[in-house]
Subunit: 302 residues, 2 copies
Amino acid sequence: MDINIIYIVDPVKGSAYSRNGLDIEEILKIISRKGNLEGHPDYKDVDSYEAICDVEVDVIVEVTPTNLVDGEPGYSHIKRALYEGKHVITTNKGPIALYYKELTRLADQKGLYLGFEGTVMSGTPLIKILRYGLLQDIERLRGILNGTTNFILTKMGEGYSFETALKEAQELGYAESDPTMDIDGYDLVAKAAILVNVITDDAVKPKDIFRMSLREYLNNRGYEGNLKYLVDLDFNNNIFAVIPKPLERTSSLVSVKGVNNGVEIETKSLGKSFIIGPGAGREETGYAILTDLKELITWAYS
Amino acid sequence: MDINIIYIVDPVKGSAYSRNGLDIEEILKIISRKGNLEGHPDYKDVDSYEAICDVEVDVIVEVTPTNLVDGEPGYSHIKRALYEGKHVITTNKGPIALYYKELTRLADQKGLYLGFEGTVMSGTPLIKILRYGLLQDIERLRGILNGTTNFILTKMGEGYSFETALKEAQELGYAESDPTMDIDGYDLVAKAAILVNVITDDAVKPKDIFRMSLREYLNNRGYEGNLKYLVDLDFNNNIFAVIPKPLERTSSLVSVKGVNNGVEIETKSLGKSFIIGPGAGREETGYAILTDLKELITWAYS
């Protein structure tokens, strides 16, 4: 893949621009040494929309933080990029969970690529499997798709208390200081909405997914063996839920431990199949972006 | 998908032809009742090459039996179809294991699709994951890819003898009356060659894969806990093998029981991911053909 990165737009660490392509290794070195790009010869105070609208740019990689209220600023970035005729790759769950149908329709109309492998299971290619590997006969999908809560539940299975396990997750950098996105299920609800939308090509919103907080469940009922915080999507009855539930001992999902993720997909003709792999991490999410780029290059430029 | 099947070529059960499209449900009914198509209004004594060379045909689905000596008749069917400008979908391991590079190059040169999802793990989308879902940084792949031997080893784990387990596999229709393809590893060697070729885009032959017979291993060493008949592909050292080996208890592959298949893929940036699902079966193999058709239609006709 011959890729030229000509813009980096980051309001915190500083932005950079070079028509001939930025030297990424050098920039990463400076960032890790100084924390920001000021003083670098390619440093430039550019705005997102300057990069998005530049006619020299073919692909926008949108990696702003997830916002599940209105999807901003990612939603406007992606929409504008597609209107400007740019392919888009994103790892931002907000715009895809909230505006899947609008954004995929817009990309289709414009003949553009919209990749979002990194929104669920990071680089483990679940989205590509759902889009290209399986037919539209999925009856049920159950998934362990939040690494932080799976880490906590794995630790609780080893005898730790919820509070101790959460603290360890925070110390290891898995859980945020305010862990409500993870342990109350908001992250899972966004991922559930993305998966329902990909599978049904419909416009389900996160608020349409039934959500039971893991924290509340544990407060009320306590831990029991093989308890997992599951995304459970029943396409026969159109019941979509995020719920804590003990797994059957024989399920391959039992082997999904710690920060790993896994899904069980049941199709009408194929029965059950499983995809298990990393669900988060910087390198793993970068991997997702690169597989989307590979797909885009294979299909759009061949 | 709007598909018109205009030829069926089967020298045993009889062939059929209809320019306007064959009525597949009716044909399947007649076959299950009478065993062959003679007397059906669309019955016609056609030759494979008549169908392959017909200008009205866009896609050839090649499902003749696997032959690991010279790949015939599948190899000549596929080659001729590509020369005639037809897309090809096959579930026949022989031509892909023996002539991967030649056939994929020919398809590329002609701008044609060559799908072979059904050659490994039937409908479980392993080939598509390797082709589109992952980058070229695979360091190791370990797989349980032969349902018959995995069924036998699962039964042996429950206390059955090899002979009893093999007999049950034969009674259930998993193992052939001459089971050497399965229990001596020839089926696995073909699948290993296909996977190495897909991953490295190279021309490895089945004879380049180290093969240890499961039957001989059991005769010499007997069964031990978590013994699996593994395809083990080490891309760092270019050592490719089919060998019986006990699994670590913690591996997600331990949950792959009975006729199921599973692979563990280790990439440089992503670590380990797992794909587990059905590995054989009529409907499952048909599913593979349909996912290839879906992929072909999505990309070639969009």
